[in-house]
């Protein structure tokens, strides 16, 4: 087990958002976490990456308890969170953004091979490397955000709402790239409102609604299930 979340309660002050959540990501898996807007997906990600502390519960990464570890240590341990809305550094160039992605590793390692690998995955970013990140198109910004995440050579890449606001053809490209990243050994937790997209491109899936886990199972089975079809796919 790469990532394990046990009985997690979390929220903002008095407003509890997550209720006893359990979730697992195995090595080299792509796991989908789906649910509608406001289900608590982004809150869960903030807790995993250390931006928020949970009320109760435990987060294990490679057998180690990281529940109260600060974000900078979590990055070093190998979890990278690509946040909703890309969140690039808009005044920095594409390449500066990528270099920032390796912030925690730069002192001990040469990052040029990483940079070359990322440019090979995203040739478009190489063309735009000296352009300000804020001036990129939405799709390019998402590429840059994923690429920045890859720069720290994560074992688990968490991507929040990758498809939001992007044209379907661009989303298809990104999905292919994610599969390529996964085939090289990085596990991915894909957090999506687009249930169809997430479940048809993952091994295992979790469905959350109002902060609680309502279903889980192999993605193919979830896609076939009557509840999912009715509640999320409008069939």
């Amino acid at each position: 087990m790469l990532l394990g979340i046990k009985e997690l309660d979390a929220g903002y002050g008095d407003v509890q958002v997550l209720w006893g959540l359990n979730l697992k990501v195995e090595e080299k898996q792509i796991v989908a976490l789906v649910g509608s807007n406001g289900a608590g997906k982004s809150t869960l990600l903030k807790v995993i990456s250390g931006l928020m502390r949970p009320y109760r519960g435990q987060i294990l990464f490679r057998g180690e308890d990281i529940t109260r570890t600060p974000p900078k240590e979590i990055v070093r341990k190998g979890i990278v969170h690509v946040p909703e809305g890309r969140r690039l550094f808009p005044q920095m160039t594409v390449e500066e953004n990528l270099v920032m992605g390796a912030f925690r590793r730069r002192k001990d390692k040469d990052i040029r091979p990483e940079l070359a690998r990322v440019y090979e995955l995203f040739p478009r970013l190489k063309e735009r490397r000296l352009q300000k990140a804020g001036s990129l198109s939405g799709g390019e910004q998402q590429m840059c955000a994923i690429a920045r995440g890859l720069m720290s050579d994560p074992r688990l890449l968490i991507i929040d709402e990758m498809s939001l606001g992007l044209a379907p053809v661009i989303v298809d490209d990104l999905v292919e790239i994610l599969k390529e990243i996964n085939s090289r050994g990085t596990a991915i937790l894909l957090v999506e409102q687009d249930v169809q997209l997430a479940l048809s491109n993952s091994h295992y899936g979790y469905v959350v609604a109002t902060g609680r886990l309502v279903m889980e199972g192999p993605s193919e089975e979830l896609l076939q299930s009557k509840e999912i079809k009715e509640a999320y796919l409008g069939m």
């Binding site: 990456s49 250390g50 931006l51 600060p70 974000p71 900078k72 990055v75 070093r76 990278v80 969170h81 946040p83 969140r87 690039l88 550094f89 808009p90 005044q91 920095m92 500066e96 270099v99 920032m100 992605g101 912030f103 925690r104 730069r106 300000k132 920045r148 720290s152």
Partner: protein, 286 residues
């Protein structure tokens, strides 16, 4: 005549720029309007005064001390005080900065009395002429050149070092900076240290050119504020442009209307900028 006025204005404007650089950095990165900024300038000025008066250290040399001492003070204040409330509303940090200002000013009053003092260096009055019309006081020119040196170092730190990258990333997107592993609390402390260190440098240069006293800070905070607003937040160029603009405008105004109007002129400019270009001359650009 006009050339002389413009040169006087530019020389003073350089000092304004340095004063505002620290304030702009702290404001831009942490959204703190540092009301105590002028008090830190005052502490820098007194550092130089005492090192000169008691130990005979040349004021320009004491720059190293005022920058380092004020850097440490700034780092400590951010780490042990402001960081504790940094997530509260901007109003709370404003009040804290206000409290720090009152504390520093009154501690200085108790320690050093309200006397107005002057750093009297032997070369203070020397000057040289360019052509027949322009006279340049040597200390002012030297101070201006030091502003350029310090500004360049600042620019280098912000754009070419890891610290600079942490500062810029934190300023541009706080969450994203944390997610790539930037230690935000430490970055904040170092940023405040840098900003206050720059105030210390400005204090040293101020003490060489003008009389100093424990209550000198208030008007300097306001001037720094005006310069930041005129230039616009978000780049190093803003304070420089704002400082030079204010320096030249004040020089012209006090020549033509009398020096009592100096402050009236700065704040008229502030109001005009707020009406015409609320984001400053460079606002919105980068």
């Amino acid at each position: 005549m006009l050339a002389q006025i413009v040169i006087n204005g530019i020389l003073k404007g350089g000092l304004y720029a340095l004063m505002a650089m620290g304030m702009s950095l702290i404001w831009g990165v942490m959204d703190i309007i540092n009301i105590a900024h002028g008090s830190f300038i005052m502490l820098g000025a007194f550092t130089t005064y005492w090192l000169f008066t008691l130990l005979g250290i040349d004021p320009f040399v004491s720059l190293i001390f005022s920058i380092s001492i004020l850097f440490v003070i700034g780092y400590g204040i951010q780490k042990y005080l402001i960081n504790l409330i940094i997530r509260a509303s901007a109003f709370i940090t404003l009040i804290l900065a206000f409290g720090i200002e009152i504390f520093i000013n009154n501690a200085a009053l108790v320690a050093w009395t309200a006397d107005v003092r002057k750093v009297k260096v032997a070369y203070g009055a020397s000057n040289f002429s360019l052509g027949d019309w322009v006279t340049i006081p040597t200390v002012r020119l030297l101070a201006f050149m030091l502003v350029i040196v310090i500004g360049t170092i600042f620019f280098f730190i912000l754009n070419r070092t890891d610290l600079g990258r942490s500062i810029r990333s934190t300023a541009q997107d706080l969450d994203a900076a944390q997610l790539v592993g930037v230690d935000v609390a430490r970055t904040y402390a170092l940023t405040f240290g840098l900003g206050v260190g720059a105030a210390g440098a400005a204090g040293t240069l101020w003490s060489i050119l003008f009389p100093i006293s424990p209550m000198m800070g208030g008007i300097l905070t306001l001037k720094s504020f005006v310069v930041v607003i005129i230039g616009g937040l978000g780049s190093m160029l803003g304070p420089i442009l704002g400082g030079l603009t204010l320096g030249v405008a004040e020089a012209m105004g006090s020549t033509w209307f009398g020096s009592t109007y100096e402050n009236l002129i700065s704040f008229t400019i502030l109001v005009l900028v707020l009406i015409l270009r609320p984001k400053g001359i460079l606002g919105g650009a980068d």
